[in-house]
Symmetry: C2
Subunit: 309 residues, 2 copies
């Protein structure tokens, strides 16, 4: 493949930025890949492993004369970084971010972006439970969604160029309204992650059941959840604080619904439970028929956790 | 491998019994495999696909002169089936079950078992979201746990023989107290499954987010959860009604804990969130260090759902 941006600056050198560096280098998508991280230790590790062509000690040096600036820091740090780099951005450059929340990032970053620079917010739905400069790998984005939430009046050529980079790294991409993005992710990711953290916490409190038993005998979905609970605490703290309204909305609906089922168990109302489970089964089958997922017995997969109750 | 039981009767011909039939036949573990199902339609399908050597219309014919009787019906139906077959059981035979709850099955079944017949309760932790006589496959139990909860004074030779069968079908096995089994499963499977059902229900109520978006953009753990929600409604209804105390205990702890985190989000208490997530990360890492799971970045696995928030 050919070079899409002459110089790319990765601000924050964690799992996502590191994986971008590997994917861009492997596919020859950037002329030069430079980076910056706030922590001196992270910068040193990145230099030791040759993650970027240059790692700067000063963020302003990284963004100077740069065609694509990627903000890959926790959501709560985006505004501060944008303020620092704004005066040094090259006219015509593109700034994107990889934050898991879009509305609050746009509110924090957009006011700092000077005229003539394109700010195109994005969110790759890919990750592992590992973090830091050594955790990235070139195939992280392969077949994963990378959502873009361009602002009204965005330069279509700039959006297309960023789209080309995303596709060239192996991802699939789609465009969404920022508010809709935050609601969809609250349902599919943020609320489930909080539930995962909670469930691991509960299991740990039960002194009569060992952590080893929890892992060993976990159903596949829950076993994955225990892995989720090992993810970066700072990133997740910021996600919840910055997608507060949507997350609380979903959690409110969730607990109402859970209480209804919990009451049915307590009252021995088998009919209500059966009706509810029949309905969720129909929802799931509807999704399969719509071609959004396969009917293969995924829970029978070898080397994964078991799922029978 | 060699024959372990001359004649095995499978009572109930769903996913577990069907998979046992395939696994036993493939490995030559049973001289004869016979079956029974309450539904005439299920019996006919089982005959059409040749699932067993004989499928009987009367359950008593299935258990006569049989060395191993496997009760593979929903937990709520175990007692009734045990009462029906009890007078026809062969002296020296073993009766086992595959129910997801052990205490209530023991209470329902054990009183019916005549002297000289060995009742050895069991629970294979394996399954898929599919059910019925055509859903089974020979490798379902491979590398999965199959827990046994023998009663005090069980015949050790009978337990060992059943263990041999389980191992020969590719499973791993362990013994547990019935009450401990029910608590462990409430944490690792029953409560998480109810949460999965609830989360799919919540997602479906949100008219602004489509079911397709839910699947498409789901984190890996949650995507598996949507599959869980397609599991057999009758089986799950019975699990919750029959492991009521442990499930309600776990759900109570879960909602208390979730409310604490929910409140921290509402109050913007980032420190509390960060501390909590740091603790769950340590739990998870402790589990890896104890050698109970691997450190491979499982969420980066190809062809699975994404997991970054």
């Amino acid at each position: 493949m050919s070079v899409i941006y002459d110089r790319v600056a990765l601000i924050g050198l964690g799992l996502i930025a590191g994986s971008m560096a590997h994917a861009m280098r492997q596919n020859g998508l950037a002329g030069e890949i430079v980076g910056y991280a706030r922590s001196a230790e992270t910068r040193q590790t990145a230099r030791d492993i040759g993650l970027c062509d240059v790692v700067y000690d000063d963020v302003t040096d990284a963004v100077k004369d740069t065609d694509l600036v990627v903000l890959a820091v926790p959501v709560g740090a985006m505004g501060q970084v944008a303020a620092e780099i704004a005066p040094f951005l090259k006219p015509g450059a593109t700034v994107t971010d990889v934050g898991s929340v879009k509305q609050s990032v746009i509110e924090a970053v957009a006011p700092h972006i000077p005229d003539g620079v394109h700010f195109i917010p994005g969110h790759p739905l890919a990750g592992t439970e590992h973090s830091g400069p050594t955790s990235g790998f070139a195939t992280l984005f392969r077949n994963r969604w990378w959502l873009l939430t361009p602002l009204p009046g965005s330069d279509e050529l700039a959006v297309q160029r960023l789209t080309d980079l995303i596709l060239a790294m192996g991802a699939k991409t789609d465009r969404m309204e920022p508010a809709h993005h935050d609601l969809v992710l609250a349902v599919t990711s943020h609320a489930p992650h909080l539930i995962a953290y909670t469930m691991v916490g509960v299991a740990d409190h039960l002194r009569r059941v060992t952590d080893e038993e929890v892992i060993q005998y976990s159903a596949a979905g829950f076993r994955d959840f225990t892995r989720i609970a090992a993810s970066d605490p700072t990133m997740w703290r910021d996600v919840f604080l910055h997608n507060k309204e949507a997350t609380l909305d979903i959690l409110g609906r969730f607990t109402e619904e859970l209480f209804m089922l919990q009451r049915a168990i307590r009252m021995g109302d088998g009919q209500q439970l059966h009706d509810y489970f029949t309905r969720t089964r129909a929802i799931r089958r509807g999704i399969i028929e719509a071609g959004q997922d396969t009917n293969a017995p995924d829970f029978g997969r070898v080397s994964e956790g078991a799922t029978k109750p």
